[in-house]
Amino acid sequence: MSLFGLFDIGKTALFASQTALTVSSNNIANVNTPGYSRQEVVLSIANPVATAVGSIGRGVTVESIKRNYDSFIQSQLMGQEQSQGKSAAMDDAWGQVEQVFNEAGGIGLSSPMAEFFNAWSDVADNPDSSTPRTVLLQKAGALVTSARGMERSMLSTVNSANAGIVDSVRQVNTLATNIADLNQQIMQVEAGSNTEKANDLRDQRDAKLNELASLVDFSSFQDSNGSLTIIVGMRNLVAGDRTSVLSTTLNNEGSRDLSLDGMNITSNIQKGRISGLIDARNDIQSGALTGLRKLVASVTQEVNILHASGFGLDASTGNDFFNPLQLTTTNNSAGAGITAVKNPPDPALLPLDEYKITFSAGNYTVTNKQTGSPLIPPVFGLYVSGGTISLPGIDVVITGPVTAADSFIVSPITSAVSGFGVAVSDPRSVAASSTLGELPGNNVNALQIARLTAAAVNNLGNSTFSDYYGGLVSTVGVKKQAASDSLTFDNNLLTALKNRREALSGVSLDEEATNLIRYQRSYQAGARMITVADELIQTVLNL
C-alpha cells in the first residue's frame, strides 16, 4: 500500500463527513416540515486490501441515506386520520343541529309551543274579549316563526354538508393527482434499484396520503416499482400515474352521492370527512328534520280539526287555524307523472306517514318510507296507467310508462314546516265556542284546544306534543354527545400515534447539533490526515 493511499482514506473521511453534515443540515432545515422523516447516513467500511500481515482498511463509504420510517405506524396513522376525519365532520354537523334544539339556551320549540297553548287557555278565560285572541294569533305566529327557523337552520346544515362533500371531493381529486405525480417521480428515481431511494418524495407522498385519509377511507398497496395504488369504495382512484375522477351526483332526495369510475360508491364510504358528512346529513334528514316536520304536521292537524268544529265571534265556522297540510310528491321517473289528493278530505283521517311507490314486473308496491316496510294491510297490484292507488287518506294517480328503476314518494309532512302558517287573520274568527247559539261566552272549544297539550296524539305514537319534542331534543343531544365523545377519543389516539411517529421520524435539534459537531470534528480530523499525508510525502521528496 502506497503512501498515496493515505490521501484516499482521508478523502473518503472528508466525503463521508461532508455527506453526513449535509444530511444533518437537511434534517435541521426540515425540523418543522410536516410529514418529514428524519434521515441519517449509513456508513460502512470501504473494501479493505488484503496484505501479508492482514487486511488494511481503505476508509469509509456512505452506503445509503436512511429514512427513519415505520410503515406500520404510517398505516395506523392513516386509519386514525380516517376515523378522526369522520368524527370531526359529524361533531361539527351535530353541533350545529344541537344549537337549533338548544333548550338550555332558551332556543327551540318548547316554549313557543307551551305559550301557544297557554294563549288558548287565556282565550278560554275571556272568550268574549279580543285581547287574548289577538295575543293568541301573535303566539301562533311566534310558533310558526320558530318552527320555520328551526327547519331553515337544519336545512342549511344539510346544505352545507352537501357543499362540504363537493368541496372534499375536489380536494380528493387534487390529492389524487398529486399522488399520481409523485408515483411517477418515485418510479423514475427508483428505477432499476431495489432500495427505496426517493426518501423526500416518499415523505411527500405519505403527507398527501394522510391528507387524503382525513377526507375519505381507502385501501392502498405498493407495486414493486414503488408506485402506490389507491382504492376508494372498491374502485381505483390512483393507479400508477393515472387517476380516476371522483365525482358527485344529485340523488332523488336532492342530496349528493359519490361516484367513481361510473359506479355509485356512496354506501362503500365508511370513514373520513366525506363519510362523516354523508352520515350526519342522512341522520339529520331522517331523524331531527323529519321529526320536527311530523311534530308540526300533527300540531297543525290536531288544532285544525278542533278549530274547524268551533265557532268564532263572527259566527264563522269550519275554518282551519293553521294552513292545512299539503301533499308533496317526488317523481323519480323519466316517463310517468303523479298526482295525489287527500281522500277523504277530512284531515282527521290523514295519517302522517310517508309512502314510497316502487315497481317490479308491471306491479306496484307501496312501502312506508321511514320504516321501509310494507303497509299493513299491504297495498300492491297491477300497475295501470291512470289508475287510482289508494293509500291511507290519500289517492294517488300515476300516468305514463314506468320502469323498475322508477319510484315515487308521497308525503303529507315534507312541506308541513315550510307551509306552516296561521290561516286565521281576524281575532274574531278564532273559534273558541263549540255552539253557534252560545256566543260569546262559550269557551268549550278553546278549552279543548288548550288541553291538547296533555293529549296523547295518535300520529306521534301516542305521546304528547312536548314528550315527542323532548324525544327529538334528546336524540339530537345523544347524537352530539356520541359524536363529540368519539371525536375526543379519535383525537387522543391520533395525537398518540403522531407522537409515536415523531419519536421515530421526528427531528431532534439536540441530536442534530451533536451530529453537526461530531461530523465537523471528523471532517477536521480527515483534513488533518491529509495534511499528515502531505507532510509525509514532503519528507520522502526531501530525502
Partner: protein, 350 residues
C-alpha cells in the same frame, strides 16, 4: 414532539378553562343538550310543568276575580232580599196610612231597582249573570224597547269553565236562573199554602222558571191542581219568573194595598233568600277550592323549581374551585413550557 405535546396540553387545558368559564358565566351546568342529555330532558319536563302551572295559576286568578265579584254582588242581593222581607212584614196586615203606604211603595220600587242593578252587574266589561251571553244585559229594563216583557232573562244557562289542573276544570259563573229564580220541580208541580187572611194560594210551576200563582177562597181548596181559573171574582192570578218580577208585583201590591198578593209573595221570597244563600255557599266553596288549588300549584311549582335548579344550575363554589385548579395547572404548564422550550444544546455551543 415536545412542541406538539405542549401545544396539545395547553389547548386541552384551555378548553376545560373555557367550559368552566361558560358554566360560571351562565350559572348553569347544562348549556346545551349534549352536556347532559338526561338532565336536559328532566329540565325540559320541569320547565313544561312549571309553565303549565303558571297558566293554571293565571286561569285561577281569572276565575277567582269573577267569582269574587259574583260573591260580592250576591251578598248585596241577600241583604236586599232581607229588606224586602222586612217590607213584606210591615205591610202584610195592610197599611191604612196613605203616607206610610206611599213610602212603602217607593221603598219597594227602590229595592226592585237595586235588585235589577245587581242582577245586571258587570265585571271586567262582562255581565256576570248572563251565562254564555256575557255581552247581553241579562235582565230587561222596566220599560224595554222593543218588548219582551219587563225584567225578562236574556242570558242563557251556559256554564263557563276554566282549566285549573291538567284534568280539572272549574265553573266560574253563576247564571241568572241560578241566582235570581227558583223552581218548584217539573212543570206542573203545585204547592198550596194558606195565607194569614185565610186565602189559599196555589203556586204552579210553568215553563222554564215561570211560576204561576193563583189566590183562591178557602172553599176553593178542593179543586184539582192545575185547574184553569174558574172565573170566580175572588180568584186572582199572576206569575213571575224571577225575583225582579216578584218585587215588581210586590211594589204594585203595596201601592194598591193588596194584602192577598203581599202575603202570597212571602213564600217565594223565603225560597229566593234560601236560593241566594245556597248560591253564596256554592261560590264560597268554589273559591276555597280555587285557593287550595292555587296553594297546591304554588307548592308544586316551588318543588319543581328546586328540582330544576338541582338539575340545571352549576355549583358555583365547585365551579370556582375547579376553575382555580385549571388556572394553576395552566400556569404551571406555561412556566414549565418556558423552561423546556428555552433548553437547547445549540445554546451551549460556541
Amino acid at each position: 414532539m415536545i412542541y406538539d405535546q405542549l401545544a396539545n396540553s395547553l389547548s386541552r387545558n384551555q378548553e376545560t378553562y373555557g367550559g368552566l368559564n361558560e358554566r360560571l358565566s351562565t350559572g348553569k351546568k347544562i348549556n346545551k343538550p349534549s352536556d347532559d342529555v338526561f338532565g336536559m330532558m328532566r329540565a325540559m319536563d320541569y320547565r313544561v310543568s312549571i309553565n303549565s302551572n303558571d297558566q293554571f295559576q293565571r286561569n285561577i286568578d281569572e276565575g277567582s276575580l269573577r267569582l269574587n265579584l259574583t260573591d260580592t254582588t250576591m251578598k248585596s242581593v241577600s241583604d236586599t232580599l232581607a229588606s224586602v222581607r222586612q217590607l213584606i212584614a210591615f205591610s202584610a196586615s195592610g197599611v191604612s196610612d196613605p203616607i206610610l203606604q206611599s213610602t212603602y211603595s217607593t221603598n219597594a220600587v227602590q229595592l226592585r231597582d237595586n235588585l235589577l242593578s245587581f242582577a245586571n252587574a258587570r265585571g271586567a266589561g262582562q255581565y256576570l249573570f248572563s251565562g254564555y251571553r256575557m255581552d247581553v244585559q241579562p235582565y230587561t229594563d222596566p220599560v224595554p224597547v222593543p218588548p219582551p216583557a219587563a225584567y225578562t232573562y236574556q242570558g242563557d244557562t251556559g256554564v263557563m269553565n276554566v282549566q285549573i289542573d291538567q284534568s280539572q276544570v272549574m265553573p266560574i259563573n253563576i247564571t241568572g236562573n241560578e241566582a235570581f229564580s227558583y223552581t218548584l220541580g217539573a212543570p206542573g208541580t203545585t204547592e198550596v199554602k194558606q195565607i194569614s187572611n185565610g186565602m189559599m194560594v196555589h203556586y204552579t210551576q210553568g215553563a222554564g222558571t215561570t211560576i204561576n200563582v193563583e189566590i183562591r177562597q178557602a172553599d176553593d181548596v178542593q179543586r184539582l191542581p192545575g185547574h184553569p181559573p174558574d172565573g170566580f171574582p175572588d180568584d186572582d192570578t199572576f206569575s213571575f219568573s224571577n225575583v225582579l218580577q216578584m218585587t215588581d208585583v210586590l211594589s204594585s201590591a203595596i201601592s194598591t194595598n193588596n194584602i192577598s198578593r203581599i202575603n202570597a209573595l212571602v213564600s217565594p221570597f223565603d225560597k229566593m233568600s234560601t236560593q241566594a244563600m245556597t248560591v253564596q255557599a256554592e261560590i264560597g266553596s268554589r273559591l276555597s277550592q280555587l285557593n287550595a288549588q292555587s296553594d297546591r300549584l304554588k307548592n308544586v311549582t316551588n318543588t319543581l323549581q328546586n328540582s330544576l335548579s338541582v338539575v340545571e344550575d352549576a355549583d358555583m363554589t365547585q365551579t370556582a374551585v375547579e376553575l382555580n385548579k385549571t388556572d394553576v395547572t395552566l400556569q404551571a404548564l406555561r412556566a414549565s413550557a418556558a423552561r423546556i422550550l428555552s433548553q437547547s444544546l445549540l445554546d451551549f455551543l460556541k
